[in-house]
Symmetry: C2
Subunit: 213 residues, 2 copies
């Protein structure tokens, strides 16, 4: 993935299996930067090394391509995170840090971070997709955090608190940083140290949350 041209440039090839993934890959690059409307299917096709007609062999419309980009790219990441949480052995604060850092590395630092930005931008224009995203991505990710905080409270690792509200406050600065980085940060003169930001947030957060002896 992430190569827009085939390895043999002599002439075009018939590559039924590879096309959908390549088209989604190219579309992701354009959608996350320009948004849905400003992305031209001709550009997606060119970037994927095919003609526009080919895009329509594999996707029934621009909108369905958009849906597939969101689904195929981000859902697997949620599944990986769920698996990591399920396999994890250790304290809940360690698990939360792991999930946060992991999400930052995999989503925040890569072009995948464009997906949350994209969903925020386009939610009103694609309500169905917004609901899908909330259901299959947001609420599942949020749930991982809520469950971990609940366990922490039960075991006495964390202070008593509303786990749902606490999860929201835990996630907000991270999600915001990702969205910011993929939009306005590009033009911001005042740069900042992302890893330090994340680290600082984790420290502050657990300072408040951890049961002080």
């Amino acid at each position: 993935m992430h190569t827009s041209r085939s390895n043999c440039d002599c002439k075009w090839r018939r590559r039924k299996e590879a096309r959908p993934a390549e088209i989604i890959d190219a579309a992701l690059d354009l959608f996350v930067v320009k948004g849905f409307n400003a992305t031209k299917l001709d550009d997606v096709a060119r970037k994927a090394g095919v003609s526009k007609g080919t895009v329509y062999l594999y996707f029934e419309s621009k909108e369905s391509l958009f849906r597939e980009v969101v689904k195929q790219i981000i859902v697997p990441e949620v599944e990986k995170a769920e698996q990591k949480a399920a396999e994890f052995v250790g304290s809940q604060s360690e698990l939360l840090k792991l999930l946060m850092v992991n999400w930052w590395e995999v989503v925040g630092k890569t072009r995948l971070g464009g997906i949350p930005k994209l969903m925020v931008s386009e939610a009103a224009n694609f309500p169905e997709l917004a609901e899908f995203y909330l259901d299959k991505v947001v609420s599942r990710a949020r749930n991982l955090v809520v469950e971990s905080i609940k366990k922490g409270v039960e075991s006495g690792e964390f202070k008593a608190c509303d786990p749902v509200a606490t999860a929201r406050l835990f996630l907000a600065p991270v999600v915001f940083a990702v969205i910011w980085d993929k939009s306005l940060a590009t033009y911001d003169k005042e740069d900042y140290d992302r890893d330090e930001y994340i680290r600082m947030h984790a420290n502050n957060f657990f300072d408040g949350l951890l049961q002080t002896k």
Copy 2:
């Protein structure tokens, strides 16, 4: 403002003075929900109670209307906030709480909250406007917080910390909540108490920041 039709519906009137503000008002409503590309000038005109031609009497292009919406709507709010901060007498933690609650009431709870969302969505398509927004809104707002934290640290009210990084962490959950509310929250089944969220964030934050005796 915020009325889309004139008070006398018998026939149209010539109202040179009122038109620009009415058009900006209508454009704001549509831009913040649909984004730049998906907003049709015919719809803006209809909402403002004029024809599309009239829009072009007062704005030279769709893009310049977009710029004016952002500039005219949000810059005055920053100025008001700066004034409040300048006039304020009291502790820095009280000032920070005041600024936050005020921003939440004026921007977060109203359709003005659509502007940050809009800027995040369209930054890549309008780099010049993004720079304007960062320069005239974001950095000024951020500065208020940074200066307040600096004063707090100097006076001993706050612990020693990096004021710029701390300001970022202070603002992130609030700005995120605004953006979220104007986008995905509309379709989210799990609702939450906004005021409680803000209050909780303030408490957590000052818990960590205030000098403990």
